[in-house]
Symmetry: C2
Subunit: 339 residues, 2 copies
DNA sequence: TTTGGTTGCGCAAGCGTTTGCGTTCATATT
DNA sequence: AATATGAACGCAAACGCTTGCGCAACCAAA
């Protein structure tokens, strides 16, 4: 088998406790012995068994990350950034990919992270039952894109303000008929769609533009949904001259719909997204960018801080800034647009 | 603290060993007692400590997955699929995101997976030193997109054949000046760029088209690189009428370059990619699709099989099929193309 | 009734660490 | 010279499980 702590202890001629202390930089070991131990450990290829050490110490040096659809750019990017932060701090990451309802159910009934992680970072939006299950772990918790929650550190953007910036941009360009492609929040505590809609309504009201419910469509926060939604808007009696898509992926779908109708952005229709998707640049999509990786980093740091100073008050709720990125899909309305 | 196995043993009035056997479905426990134990465990919210059980049993029920850039669609998707497979089989996933050289070095010097995982799945391409380090773990190993390797199960596509299909498609459309945007394999054993280039050369030779080195450019397998490469091709004395990009991301960059030059695909230039990127559809990019998620699933399954039947011979090398997806960026050459 | 085989369970050792406490020994203090 | 002090280290008890073995109790076969 692989070398154990007693093997290196024997090699140096000291006790296992001394090896343990030496390797973890604890005091009580002379520099001379410390060096011998380090050398012996290296030559034996010794690595402490995480199982044994966490059993003995109670700390696992592991963070649980639960996420839906790791393959999607958005979640993958957050995960990527968070992992880097945890890894650099010496923590390992246990990943639970809970895209499917079965996986999610399995996770919350078996709770495989119990006694296995020192903290949990969740990219999911939880109902109260799930939140309670997580709280029962009694470890620091962090999550995203939701209203403040007891027991959780939550990070996100100011969705309402971000949407306002997007729509204001369209208004400033001179648009008066502005459509929206949004989504529903479902039964969960996912506040994003409602907040972004509110931002849209805010700006319309501010600009004295009457709200036309026919211009609000549901894109389900997917590319295909965005395509369907734009198709729907184009079929309206009086189509909009500009569209605010609540996410870049829906905006991409919308652009695709335009192409299929032989229309062009921004000549025939302005489109603005929200997210700052990496491929928005390729498409030349104007968007409100949120620091996606930045949010992963931020949440990870907050969690790490709580692990270092367990008594410090949890930060509760932090919001990161967004910014408008001007590209090629928005312009003043054309005298003769579609229809 | 949280409940331990002795707590539930005491609650039922049996020994800890019986609880252990009952909960893991081992024989030697009557149905009656088994049910009582299950009930007690549920009511106490008991979950076995993974640290303790793996220390005692030697099995960790954990798979190590090492990957670069989890945020990129390609790797994220493979990871996503693999995690689902592992999760369904009852294994947890320890993720190591080794995008940066520092993270990579840290990983291979500290080897945090030693004694911590039952197998490792790597999305990285390793040099021999790294491969040896992994082999020293003495667990089943799997990796991707490289030549067969002792000790590893490797899954991938037939890169050469896939490239052939792509270029053949362009030839069949009537193109004779066909550019390529490729990449270098670097010092590693990443065979993809050379294989795909070989496929390109194969078809040219087959069609009796002389090979013009000026039409081969390096796009570094990134969007920006693809953009630069296409710009370079457009500036050539005699630009190509069609371009084969070795990856979809480079093809997207190429399309962007075309747009910036006020050129259009396929009218002014045909472009074909390779990968089957999720957003290739949005862009209408013709491509050779490889089953990205499928490869993650496949590798995970092969690994799981090795864990179940340790003595079965490892499958060595498996190749999954690719297919041409016709979309809107390829067409016969126009009588008056660019130049 | 004895024998042999099963079934259901408990005992206790062991997995590889960490850590509180005790011991030794050298050095500093009176 | 006697004593206190601290550094360096070893001992042994956890940590919470798994598992080989032993021991009753039971049933079937002889």
């Amino acid at each position: 088998m692989t070398a154990s702590i007693t093997d290196v202890a024997r090699a140096v001629g000291v006790s296992a406790s001394t090896v343990s202390r030496a390797l973890r930089g604890r005091p009580g070991v002379s520099d001379e012995v410390r060096e011998q131990i380090a050398a012996a450990a290296a030559s034996l290829g010794y690595t402490a068994s995480r199982s044994a050490s966490s059993l003995a110490s109670g700390r696992t040096l592991t963070i649980g990350v639960v996420a839906p659809f790791v393959g999607r750019w958005f979640f993958g990017t957050v995960l990527d950034a968070a992992e880097n932060e945890f890894g650099a701090a010496g923590y390992d990451v246990l990943l639970y990919n809970l895209g499917s309802p079965e996986a999610r159910k399995r996770f919350f009934t078996k709770m495989p992270v119990r006694k296995r992680v020192d903290a949990v970072l969740s990219l999911l939006v939880h109902d109260e039952d799930e939140a309670d299950a997580l709280r029962s772990l009694r470890v620091p918790l962090a999550t995203f894109w939701t209203a403040p929650r007891p027991g959780f550190t939550v990070v996100g953007i100011d969705d309402r303000a971000a949407a306002q910036s997007a729509v204001r941009h369209l208004v400033n360009l001179g648009h008066r008929r502005i459509g929206m492609i949004g989504g529903t929040s479902g039964p969960l505590h996912w506040t994003t769609p409602v907040e972004r809609r509110q931002g849209y309504l805010d700006v319309l009201a501010d600009a004295g533009i009457p709200h036309d419910p026919a211009l609000e469509t549901d894109g389900g926060y997917t590319v295909e949904g965005g395509e369907r939604a734009m198709t729907e808007l184009l079929a309206a009696p009086r189509p909009p001259t500009a569209v605010f898509a609540q996410s870049d992926e829906m905006a991409m779908g919308a652009l695709r719909a335009l192409r299929l109708h032989r229309l062009k952005a921004p000549d025939d229709m302005s489109v603005i997204g929200l997210d700052g998707h990496e491929l928005a640049e390729v498409l030349g999509l104007t968007t409100i960018a949120q620091p996606v990786a930045g949010q992963g980093t931020e949440a990870a740091r907050l969690l790490l801080r709580q692990l270092e100073e367990p008594d410090a008050a949890s930060p509760g709720h932090v919001q990161v800034p967004t910014r408008l990125i001007l590209r090629d899909t928005t312009a003043p309305p054309q005298p003769r647009g579609p229809q």
